[in-house]
């Protein structure tokens, strides 16, 4: 599992993030999320709001974003929830970054199916580009994390970079993706295997073959 710990509570951190507040747009979105829950249950909105806050921090720092303590406190105050309850949530889910990350947070899946399909080579490829686990690379672009199963086993190995999944990787395909990202381009998400659309069997479907091109009616064969 990823090694997680809170960023220390320093005066610099307080100074940088003490004045954090949602932007107008985010505030409107936050209130919309809160309105989904019944009166008095506003604390149910803690997870979307933490995510929103993390994205706003990301936008302000041009990274994926993370959750400094003052921001967690802001969310707690926004929801009128004791801050320890919000901290519990923020430290529980790995999608909330507790330390600063780079512009691209590369999460390499290292669980068994990906490992069998060559995630070690993917990891090496990342490290060869100067990424270090749990640290921001010198150019501020990359943070590498090894994560457990992301649920894309059919298209293993995969990495998740910020909000996108990149699947069916080889070191070369990963390099292509990373190069494109570094160049500010928007590489295609999902499988990187030519000819494959999503997670269908590689080499084409083995069942329901007629469904590929059209909506076939199988009922006559029942």
């Amino acid at each position: 599992m990823a090694d997680r710990s809170l960023a220390p509570d320093t005066p610099e951190l307080r100074e940088r993030w003490g004045g954090f507040a949602f932007t107008e747009a985010n505030k409107a979105h936050a209130d919309k999320v809160i309105a989904r829950y019944p009166d008095g249950r506003q604390k149910s909105a803690v997870m979307p709001l933490l995510d929103l806050a993390q994205r706003q921090v990301g936008a302000e720092t041009d990274t994926q974003g993370w959750l400094p303590l003052p921001v967690i406190e802001y969310v707690a105050a926004y929801l009128d929830v004791p801050v320890i309850r919000v901290l519990e949530v923020a430290t529980f889910y790995f999608m909330y970054n507790l330390r600063p990350v780079g512009k691209y947070h590369v999460q390499v899946c290292g669980t068994t199916p990906c490992m069998l399909r060559g995630s070690d080579a993917i990891m090496e490829a990342c490290k060869a580009r100067g990424m270090k686990k749990g640290a921001v690379s010198e150019d501020g672009l990359w943070t590498l994390t090894e994560v457990e199963c992301m649920g894309s086993c059919a298209t293993a190995p995969m990495v998740q970079i910020n909000d996108g999944n990149y699947e069916d990787l080889t070191p070369e395909r990963l390099d292509a993706v990373l190069d494109a990202l570094a160049a500010g381009k928007d590489p295609k998400e999902g499988t990187q295997e030519p000819g494959r659309h999503t997670s269908e069997p590689s080499g084409g479907p083995t069942t329901l073959k007629e469904m590929v091109s059209e909506n076939h009616d199988y009922r006559s064969q029942w």
Partner: protein, 668 residues
């Protein structure tokens, strides 16, 4: 009423009972760590596994499984035994084997249950997890490596105390119990998590490495730090009280105890009065008992003597003083040291009539001038329960941090005569409305307006009495029952200018008003009273004498003597008895038993443990008007009585938690 079979024994269990409770009813012990009767069900320790049919063919956590009709529960099968062994083995994987240096040793659930239900030996050879210690304030010592993540402390602070400050951060094996940024836990009941912790992760900091549970003599006593009369157990070794723990009494303190009641006991060995002092030429010098008695006799006390009872004295002491004064032809008795002079002609009007258990069921509560959290922390727990059940709570007085939603109606007591619509609405609809008048309200003459309020909204009805007065002194109700209340209060006594003033541990008294009297202080701690006294006679504290106490509900309770008083100090009644001889009068008792029977003959209610019956509420006197801004009498929760003021632990709590002096220890 579902019928279930537990190990072949068929029993009927109440609706809504869990399988664990059903097993308990059948007399089967179910091991548990996270389950606690007074907390919500978490179901995360998995120790309470039993076999239940019908159901999946695997052990089930009995604490979280409702008992339903026709269930067949087995607690004695091999499956259950292996399941328990397995759970215990997992729990012990990351639990250090440091019982010999652990303060919980000897009273540890994990220790006991691993002996009872665990495997004989460990198979674990890998490294164990270690967790850094967390700072939780001056009372709670943490050794978080021992934590088994039962989350009882988290649930206690959230559900009972109402102060969300403890939480579980990170997850899985990395889960850690902590306060936010390791701030000190700073509510009045924080130390109860020490009792709740089933292992040695949260232990008592002041008591750390002091004693082992099996060395201690356990004495049943009553807490005197407030007027709740919490039932406590004093654990003593030799001549010293080592700690105080709550006893279970659902009617009074459930199983909680305020931090002050728990930790003021170290004050019992500091600033003690252990010899007789007489003021000579303006200076107190050590003297002999007979010199002191001769000096009192020389002051001509006959007919001109007064007694003022302090906040911590027992009924027997007060009765002995009353008997002495009676023999000397005086009835100048008073217990309300700060000068309150509310009407005590009918004790029902100054009693907490709803009872603590009853107030939980109230659905509209008006608090007049009481900062309940500090004046009676355990009553605040009850109010919080009432609020959780939907009670509307209003407070007259300055703002304080209630742990439940409450509406503040301003500081002026006159609001009682001009009620806002919200109140009238809530109270006219309420089925069990209640009013609580505190010391701050009594000082502004709110007693009769509150009685009028009770009449107006019919607070006394079939099976319900919603009129309550919340006192702060352990001796108050007993004193009122024994007649320690003058019309006109303490001012009346000062006006009488007695030759001799006997102060029974009265430290809140303004002794300046008694400049011409010979002030005799009978008490156990050197505080304001001892400094002002002309003669000091060393007495016994609540831990050092048998005694009867009456709490603010009028509940008569008996405390036992745990240790002997230090030095020359004597039990208070013996001092008064000896003084009677020196003054050549007869008080009519020669032993504690005789004193008690004389007291019970005079006030029969004191002879029976339990609630005293004070009869009907009096009619309100509409001519008495409440007015003025209410202020709360307690300025510092941790410093309200002489024992607490002498206690190093309470001083530290006060400076660190209330005044935020930076005393935080370097991380250990």
């Amino acid at each position: 009423m579902p019928k279930v079979t537990v190990d072949g024994q068929e029993i009927e269990v109440p609706n809504g009972a869990t399988v664990l409770q059903a097993c308990e009813l059948a007399g089967k012990e179910i091991p548990r760590f996270c389950y606690h009767e007074r907390l919500s069900i978490a179901g995360n320790c998995r120790m309470c596994l039993v076999e239940v049919k019908p159901g999946p063919p695997k052990p089930q956590a009995s604490c979280a499984l409702p008992a339903t009709d026709g269930q067949e529960i087995r607690t004695d099968t091999d499956m259950v035994k292996t399941a328990r062994e397995g759970v215990m083995e997992f729990l012990l994987i990351n639990h250090p084997l440091d019982c010999p240096i652990c303060d919980q040793g000897g009273e540890c659930d994990l220790q006991d249950q691993s002996m009872m239900y665990g495997r004989g030996a460990t198979r674990y050879e890998e490294n164990k997890r270690a967790v850094t210690e967390k700072y939780m304030g001056p009372l709670i010592k943490t050794i978080m490596t021992r934590c088994i993540h039962c989350t009882r402390c988290v649930r206690f602070s959230e559900e009972i105390a109402g102060v969300d400050e403890i939480g579980a951060i990170y997850r899985g094996e990395d889960m850690q119990i902590t306060t936010y940024l390791e701030q000190a836990a700073s509510h009045e009941l924080s130390a109860n998590v020490i009792d709740l912790c089933p292992v040695g992760a949260l232990t008592s900091r002041p008591y750390a490495f002091e004693a082992r549970p099996w060395e201690l003599k356990k004495t049943w006593s009553i807490d005197v730090s407030d007027a709740v009369g919490a039932n406590i157990r004093l654990d003593s070794r030799g001549r010293e009280v080592m700690r105080a723990l709550p006893r279970i009494n659902d009617a009074v303190n459930e199983e909680w105890l305020s931090d002050k009641g728990r930790y003021q006991v170290d004050g019992l060995s500091r600033r003690r009065l252990d010899k007789v002092y007489i003021r000579k030429d303006g200076k107190l010098v050590p003297a002999e008992w007979n010199e002191a008695f001769a000096a009192i006799a020389a002051a001509n006390p006959k007919g001109s003597i007064a007694a003022v009872a302090g906040d911590l004295v027992d009924c027997e002491t007060m009765f002995a003083a009353k008997a002495l004064l009676g023999a000397l032809g005086s009835d100048h008795l008073e217990g309300r040291q700060t000068g309150l002079d509310y009407d005590c002609s009918n004790l029902a009007a100054v009693n907490f009539n709803s009872t603590f258990e009853g107030i939980e069921n109230a659905d509209a509560i008006l608090i007049v001038g009481s900062q309940v959290r500090w004046e009676a922390a355990l009553v605040n727990v009850r109010l919080r329960k009432a609020a959780k059940r939907g009670a509307k709570i209003f407070v007259v007085g300055p703002q304080w941090d209630t742990t439940y939603p409450a509406t503040f109606l301003g500081e002026d007591a006159a609001v009682l005569h001009d009620l806002p619509q919200a109140i009238t609405e809530a109270f006219s609809k309420a089925e069990r409305p209640a009013v609580i008048v505190g010391g701050g309200g009594l000082a502004k003459g709110a007693l009769h307006p509150a009685l009028a309020f009770a009449e107006q909204f019919n607070l006394v009805r079939e099976g319900w009495n919603g009129f309550n007065v919340l006192h702060m002194a352990a001796s108050r109700m007993g004193g009122l029952m024994l007649g320690y209340a003058q019309k006109g209060g303490i001012g009346n006594i000062a006006k009488a200018k007695p030759n001799v003033l006997i102060s029974l541990g009265a430290d809140e008294l303004d002794y300046g008003a008694f400049a011409d009297s010979l002030k005799v202080y009978i008490g156990h701690h050197g505080d304001a009273g001892a400094h002002a006294a002309d003669i000091i006679l060393p007495g016994a504290s609540y831990a050092e004498k048998d005694g009867t106490y009456v709490n603010t509900e009028g509940r008569v309770q008996f405390a036992e003597k745990a240790v002997f008083a230090p030095g020359d100090a004597r039990e208070d009644w013996t001092i008064l008895r000896a003084m009677a001889d020196a003054l050549d009068v007869s008080v009519g008792f020669d032993s504690f038993a005789e004193l008690q029977s004389a007291m019970i003959a005079a006030v029969p209610a004191l002879g029976e443990e339990g609630l005293a019956d004070f009869g009907q509420l009096p009619n309100a006197d509409a001519s008495i008007r409440a007015s003025g801004a209410i202020s709360y009498p307690i300025a510092d929760f941790y410093m309200t009585n002489v024992v607490a003021r002498a206690s190093a632990t309470m001083q530290r709590c006060s400076s660190e938690l209330l005044h935020h002096d930076d005393l935080k220890e370097a991380a250990e």
